[in-house]
């Protein structure tokens, strides 16, 4: 193993030799004023290999968010899809030697799947939102520590892969198997750093929509989005969507690693969630599960100057997989709300676009707000539900622009 000192020295050498290849610019980033001052000053547009310029929050591990302009369509392009890692050791996976090992004390047997094995299983396809649990953490007041994301730690893609339950069927689950545990090829720099290991309840793992995906929008997964295969857990936040998947382990006892507890916890009873992860619940908190209903206005942008005349207010809405039923728009500070027109329905896990034609009556500053309502009647909050880790920010989005 590397010593810390030699790694630091090596890191410094690399930074020097690579500085010429650095491509970044502070121009063109328009981040919300609500972010921590340091988050705003620190962010730059930067291109990772195979990616368009994204908003860099941290270089190593790489945490890059998608600029707002890419959310004007329901599908987010692969080369603009956000990048989120917890740990810095991210190996390029060799597809010839890569395999997923399925087995453990909650399984009747063990099996290995190569990339070709995976592709030979019946293929399933669905469109689903992948959103970091901490998306919009940077907007929390008071601020909480972590990656200080703005609106762009999310994306929506068409995923193709094998159903997880088909892999599990090959080994057979014991009836006591309560969770399925996942590991990927990435790891920490020192072996003392807890490896990023996550579990989901067996009921969620065996749903038809939980996939081991090897295609994203018709192409192989980009390296930094989990090549060659990642877990797709539609409706649930990105923390469970294990990248570079290498291990699937059914267990009869709750997974107890750092990344399940204390990490990724929400206080019990604060959020109107349906999906529960009961084997992990404590008296005070529970793992984050499904996404809360949410929406984002993508046109006009905050602070924009627009010409007097009709304006198309546009955006996207999504939830934890119940489906969007209505998006409403207000231009009087939330006193009255008018239904927007919904765009194409790409399925209950996808971004749903919306639009609303607004005709401003006067010049000057105007504010529009949008709120989504899902098919089980949940809607967004007007006040932040504060929690220590900065999750589930679904405060109604408000955009102020100038009509000239």
């Amino acid at each position: 193993m590397l010593t810390r000192r030699s790694l630091v020295t090596a890191g410094a050498g690399l930074a020097l030799t690579s500085s010429g290849a650095f491509r970044a610019s502070a121009a063109g980033i328009d981040l919300p004023a609500a972010l921590p001052e340091g988050a705003r000053s620190n962010a730059v547009l930067d291109s990772l290999p195979g990616k368009k310029p994204l908003i860099k929050l941290s270089y190593r591990p790489p945490n890059y968010e998608t600029p707002l302009e890419y959310f004007r369509t329901a599908i987010t392009p692969n080369d603009a899809f956000f990048v989120r890692y917890h740990l810095s050791n991210i190996p390029e996976v060799d597809i010839k030697t890569w395999k997923i090992v399925v087995g453990g004390e909650g399984a009747n047997g063990q099996a290995e799947f190569t990339f070709d094995d995976l592709k030979r299983l019946p293929a399933a396809e669905l469109v689903a939102v992948n959103m970091c649990s901490g998306n919009r953490r940077g907007l929390f007041q008071p601020h909480v520590p972590g990656v200080e994301w703005s609106y762009g730690a999310m994306g929506c893609a068409r995923w193709k892969g094998a159903r997880l339950k088909d892999l599990l069927d090959k080994v057979g689950l014991k009836k006591e198997a309560i969770e399925i545990v996942f590991d990927g090829a990435d790891s920490g720099v020192t072996d003392k750093t807890p490896d990023f290991i996550k579990s989901i309840p067996t009921w969620k793992a065996i749903e038809d929509t939980t996939l081991v995906a090897y295609e994203m929008n018709g192409a192989p997964l980009p390296h930094l989005n989990g090549f060659p295969a990642r877990l797709i857990v539609p409706g649930w936040t990105g923390t469970y969507w294990m990248k570079h998947l290498t291990s699937i382990k059914p267990v009869t006892k709750p997974e107890s690693g750092f990344w399940m507890n204390p990490a990724y916890r929400i206080p019990l009873g604060k959020f109107p969630l349906v999906a529960r992860f009961t084997s992990q619940e404590t008296a005070v908190n529970t793992p984050i599960t499904e996404m809360v209903v949410n929406s984002l206005i993508t046109n006009p942008t905050d602070g924009a100057n627009v010409k007097m005349g009709p304006i198309t207010v546009g955006g996207i809405a999504w939830d934890g997989g119940y489906g969007i039923s209505t998006v409403e728009v207000s231009n009087d500070g939330g006193k009255t709300w008018v239904p927007a027109t919904l765009g194409e329905d790409l399925g209950r896990f996808a971004f749903r676009t919306f639009s609303y034609n607004l005709s401003p009556k006067a010049r000057g500053k105007q504010t529009v707000m949008a709120r989504a309502i899902n098919k089980i009647g949940q809607t967004q909050t007007t006040e932040l539900i504060h929690n220590p880790a900065g999750y589930h920010h679904n405060v109604v989005h408000s955009v102020t622009f100038n009509v000239a």
């Binding site: 630091v8 930074a15 290849a21 941290s58 591990p61 520590p145």
Partner: protein, 93 residues
Amino acid sequence: MRTLIIALAAALIAIPAVAQEKPVELKKAPGLDKVEGNCSGCHSLDYIVMNSPYPNATLWDAEVTKMIKAFGAPISDADAKVIADYLKKNYGS
């Protein structure tokens, strides 16, 4: 030197994201050498800038403790104190 070459080669293989990394310049103040020497082995220093200047002294202490206790950073007690003091003075509220 041999150690360095091996480490360099290993780092190139293990951490491709590093190749994109621009050095992050933190405020020049007492303790910066300990911050650079201890923190940047596992993560880029923009994590500090991004999480500033809102943390109070208690929060910066908690973050340093988290890096050692939860993430296993091999930082001595003496260095941990210097690092926490630097963060509080230069990136705290």
